[in-house]
């Protein structure tokens, strides 16, 4: 008993010491890692901006992608219960990162310690600023859920819409619209267009009456709305002329408009900012953890995050990356104006209220789904 404890303690010490040595010597690192992301254009931007450069610097290392970010929370929980976590680094939206952290499935980290400082020496935690919404979360990009419309399908003589409330204005802008099949964002927009002041929206939404008010407002367009569950649907619906306007992620709109030459126009008004970033699963073995820490330090430095913006129109999460954002890698257009964070796009914005939705999500979702089903 005593012997085994001694042995364990010695091993622990050795491993800890090994961990410290590695920081300089890069010893004891696994040679493969499994990265989890969303697939599609977003994963491609990660591959180009930092995975390929990292693999070039470390020819022995191999990286495997798992396109499971959609159900990352459930899968990670199942893996954790089975005691066999095969993922090394997981790309999730901020609300999922908060839940993984709450569940103890993600590792809590010290941002200043494991992430590179900005080139001017600013600490990582200051460089990311408020975007570090959880102790487990390493932000990468800011994206937004925002609206777009088909100018050619607007009625003759109608002005181009300039406000999100066009979504609720069936008289001026008849035709179908498409919204996400969940309460988040839609409830806020409904209240905003029902005359609630922007800074009171969450106070109102916290009450039964406020929730009913939002649903009543959504009720006015319920018959004319196609509800989407995959973000690829709205561009397709708009392209086919099934709907005249709709909400989706700004990157999806960008790729439809610029890469596929669709005649859509963006309606940046009341766009909702959300974050996407990495989490490291809890309790990784030492060698895999070392490899991941090494990779993450590289992949989230100022230059790498700016590079990513050359492949997709999502804003880098570091303040210091913004000035380095250049042109699209293939189209050669300046990416700055297409970022949700560009000044002319972000005159009126929401920021996803993580705290509020963590509490109210189950309750409001039940009401929303029940309302949809009736």
């Amino acid at each position: 008993m005593k012997f085994s404890k001694t042995l364990m303690a010695t091993t622990a010490l050795t491993v800890a010491a090994g961990g410290m040595v590695f920081a300089e010597a890069h010893g004891n690192m696994a040679n493969s890692m499994t990265l989890v992301s969303w697939g599609g254009a977003y994963q491609n931007s990660q591959q180009k901006a930092y995975v390929e450069p990292y693999l070039e610097m470390n020819p022995d290392v191999s990286a495997t992608w798992d396109e499971s970010s959609n159900e990352a929370v459930a899968k990670l929980r199942a893996m954790n219960e089975a005691g066999n976590v095969t993922w090394d680094l997981v790309d999730v939206v901020a609300s999922d990162a908060i839940r993984l952290c709450d569940e103890g499935l993600a590792m809590e980290i010290d941002h200043d310690e494991i992430l590179e400082a900005a080139p001017d020496g600013t600490d990582a935690s200051d460089d990311f600023g408020d975007l570090i919404v959880s102790d487990c979360f390493i932000p990468q990009i800011v994206y937004s859920t925002t609206a777009a419309y088909r100018p050619d399908l607007l009625p003759e003589g109608a002005e181009a819409p300039s406000s999100i409330c066009a979504m609720f204005d069936l008289e001026t802008y008849p035709g179908k619209r498409t919204l996400e099949r969940r309460p988040i964002n839609n409830m806020e927009w409904a209240l905003l267009c029902d005359g609630v002041a922007k800074d009171e929206i969450y106070d109102v939404l916290a009450t039964e009456e406020g929730q009913q008010q939002a649903l009543d407002k959504l009720d006015t367009i319920k018959d004319q709305t196609v509800w989407w569950s995959a973000a690829a649907e709205p561009p397709q619906l708009l392209a086919d002329g099934e709907v005249v306007m709709g909400s989706s992620y700004n990157g999806r709109w960008f790729s439809a408009i610029e890469e596929q030459d669709q005649d859509f126009a963006m309606l940046w008004d009341a766009q909702v900012f959300d974050l996407d970033g990495w989490i490291i699963p809890a309790d990784l073995p030492e060698d895999r953890l070392n490899r991941v820490l090494d990779f993450v330090r590289f992949a989230t430095d100022t230059q790498r995050l700016a590079d990513q913006a050359a492949y997709i129109s999502y804003g880098p999460a570091r303040k210091s990356s913004a000035p380095l954002v250049g042109e699209h890698a293939e189209l050669g257009i300046a990416m700055g104006p297409h970022m949700p964070t560009a000044p002319e796009n972000s005159e009126n914005i929401f920021v996803y209220n993580y705290e509020f939705w963590a509490d109210y999500r189950d309750d409001i979702d039940a009401k929303f789904q029940s309302w949809l089903a009736q």
């Binding site: 001694t6 929370v73 929980r77 709450d102 569940e103 196609v226 189950d362 089903a373």
Partner: protein, 558 residues
């Protein structure tokens, strides 16, 4: 008795003679009753058969039955509350939620210790998300409380520290609480940077300082297992100071003469003048919601290890202090979804029979060359991705889609009144009928192949019309195929998920879409398990009815 023990083995001749003497049980050649001997032989055979299938049986049990049972078990499991808040839930037993009053100081005291320990183990937020399914706001309440709970301990920690800085040192505590031999060895080893043996509690300290001993023990265990450190080098959490304060106020420590006795007596003399903070006041200061009666009622309602709460939620009910009650009208959803799932699955099954029967008949009656070609056409969709087939229906059925375009071009439908055929029940039924059709055609085809064509000819030669010959002779023989196909299609349809998700819109989604949401999005696995259990029970009940009405022996796959 004596015969059995004396005789080395039964004599067959004796046995035969005995059997002839009086009519008794028939005996086998070795003298045992035939019945027994037969059943032994059969048992051996059965055992051998069982051993042969054992690998498969074990495989099925381990990889199929056990995981499903484990998942379904989550629908009643609720240990997380009493595991995370053991002291609180024990203290809550004495509290009557109907009284309308907040629980007493003892409950808040339990909550303090539970929260500090849960916060160190990072379990409090998990409990918060669990309870948030039952009451909105508990998720952030537990998260905020976890951040603020140290405030209570600091009050006492600072006063002990002011009294004597020795209270701020790990060694003081280790000497007070630890077995002297352990302390000596731990100190020596710590000085040499060697590994330190596991903590051993001093004899008798539990009687002298019961709370402190309990809390220090928890701290010591956590420090050794989680932090891989030793209590000799780590100063204890503030909660141990709180426990010591409580012990000193209530216990007599004058008889103690072990290590740090002076320090302890000095503290004993001083605690009377300590500034105190009630646990209840402390929690109210961290979060007002701890003064909310409903929150305590929720915690009490969900403190047992097993709960029917998930099942109640799955049938649109909730637990209230007055027993289960229906939810508000605007929160009911599962009843609608179960009905809709049943209705649409039946519709899909009937559509499959209607469409599949003629095709299967054609397949069975064509010359084999053309039949094979046709069979390939039936199977072709099987080889195409499910998502492609479903998306193809979107292109066909949407308002700007192929069918609407044709109808408008033919002038049957006005351009501004195009038909809505997708994102509703109709779209789901069409798409799923198409996808599940092969499961109907194949069993029908294989049953129809076994019906000799001469029966129909015989019926006709005896004067039956085409219809009578079909209805009275052919159809009854094909019923087993319909039964098999219907069961296959219905059971597949009732659990279908991806097609309704894509083409179902709001009125065409199934209960399985909600189960998927609770598994992967809301993480409410208990509710998902309850919904899944109900779905399983419904399918089994239907299967039973089917067996009673049609008879499962009449089902043939070929």
């Amino acid at each position: 008795m004596t015969d059995a023990t004396a005789g080395a083995g039964p004599n067959p001749q004796d046995a035969a003679a005995k059997a002839a003497e009086k009519p008794g049980p028939m005996l086998a050649a070795d003298g045992t009753p035939l019945k027994k001997s037969l059943s032994r032989a059969l048992r051996r055979q059965k055992l051998r058969a069982l051993m042969l299938i054992a690998p498969l049986l074990i495989f099925v049990l381990v990889t199929f039955v056990a995981p499903i049972a484990d998942m379904l078990f989550r629908s009643v499991e609720n240990q997380i509350v009493s595991d995370t808040l053991p002291r609180t839930t024990a203290a809550l037993d004495d509290w009557n939620a109907d009284s309308g009053e907040l629980p007493g100081e003892a409950v808040y005291e339990g909550l303090y210790y539970d929260m500090v320990i849960a916060e160190e183990r990072k379990l409090h937020t998990r409990l918060g998300s669990r309870l948030n399914y039952e009451q909105t706001g508990l998720s952030s309440l537990f998260r905020q409380t976890g951040r603020g709970v140290d405030d209570i301990g600091e009050v006492y920690f600072d006063q002990f520290d002011d009294l004597n800085p020795a209270w701020d040192e790990a060694v003081t505590w280790a000497e007070l609480m630890g077995e002297p031999n352990w302390v000596a060895e731990a100190k020596a080893r710590a000085g040499n940077d060697e590994s330190i043996p596991g903590f051993e509690m001093k004899d008798g300290i539990e009687d002298l300082l019961p709370r402190t001993a309990e809390m220090y023990g928890i701290f010591a265990e956590f420090t050794e297992t989680e932090d891989e450190d030793s209590p000799i080098e780590e100063e204890p959490w503030e909660m141990v100071h709180v426990a010591l304060y409580q012990d000193l106020v209530s216990q007599d420590v004058s008889g103690y003469d072990g290590a740090q006795a002076d320090l302890l007596n000095e503290a004993k003399a001083a605690v009377g003048d300590f500034e105190t903070i009630g646990f209840k006041d402390g929690f109210l200061e961290i979060e007002d919601d701890w003064g909310n009666h409903d929150i305590w009622a929720t915690i009490k309602t969900y403190s047992p290890n097993y709960t029917n709460g998930y099942f109640l939620a799955a049938v649109d009910m909730e637990k209230t202090p007055d027993g289960p009650a229906l939810r508000d009208e605007n929160e009911r959803i599962y009843g609608i979804l179960f009905q809709r799932t049943m209705f649409m699955s039946l519709m899909i099954t009937f559509s499959c029979i209607l469409l599949g029967y003629p095709v299967a008949w054609l397949l069975a009656n064509l010359p084999s060359r053309s039949a094979n070609l046709l069979l390939i056409l039936v199977l072709l969709p099987f080889w195409t991705s499910l998502l492609v087939r479903t998306s193809a229906w979107k292109v066909m059925l949407q308002q700007q889609g192929v069918i609407n375009d044709v109808l408008v071009w033919l002038g049957l439908v006005a351009d501004d009144a195009r038909l809505v055929m997708i994102n509703n029940q109709f779209g789901t039924i069409v798409a799923m009928t198409h996808i599940l059709l092969p499961f109907m055609i194949l069993p029908l085809y294989s049953v129809m192949q076994t019906i000799p064509p001469s029966y129909l000819r015989a019926a006709k030669s005896l004067g039956a019309t085409n219809w009578t010959a079909f209805w009275r002779v052919y159809f009854p023989q094909s019923v087993p195929g319909i039964g098999a196909g219907s069961i296959l299609v219905f059971i597949l349809a009732i659990g279908y998920y991806i097609t309704p998700e894509i083409v179902g819109g709001t009125t065409g989604t199934f209960i399985s879409n909600r189960i998927a949401y609770h598994i992967s999005s809301s993480l409410n696995w208990g509710l998902a398990a309850a919904l899944g259990t109900i779905l399983l029970a419904v399918v089994m009940a239907l299967y039973w009815c089917y067996d009673k009405i049609v008879g499962i022996d009449n089902v043939k796959l070929g």
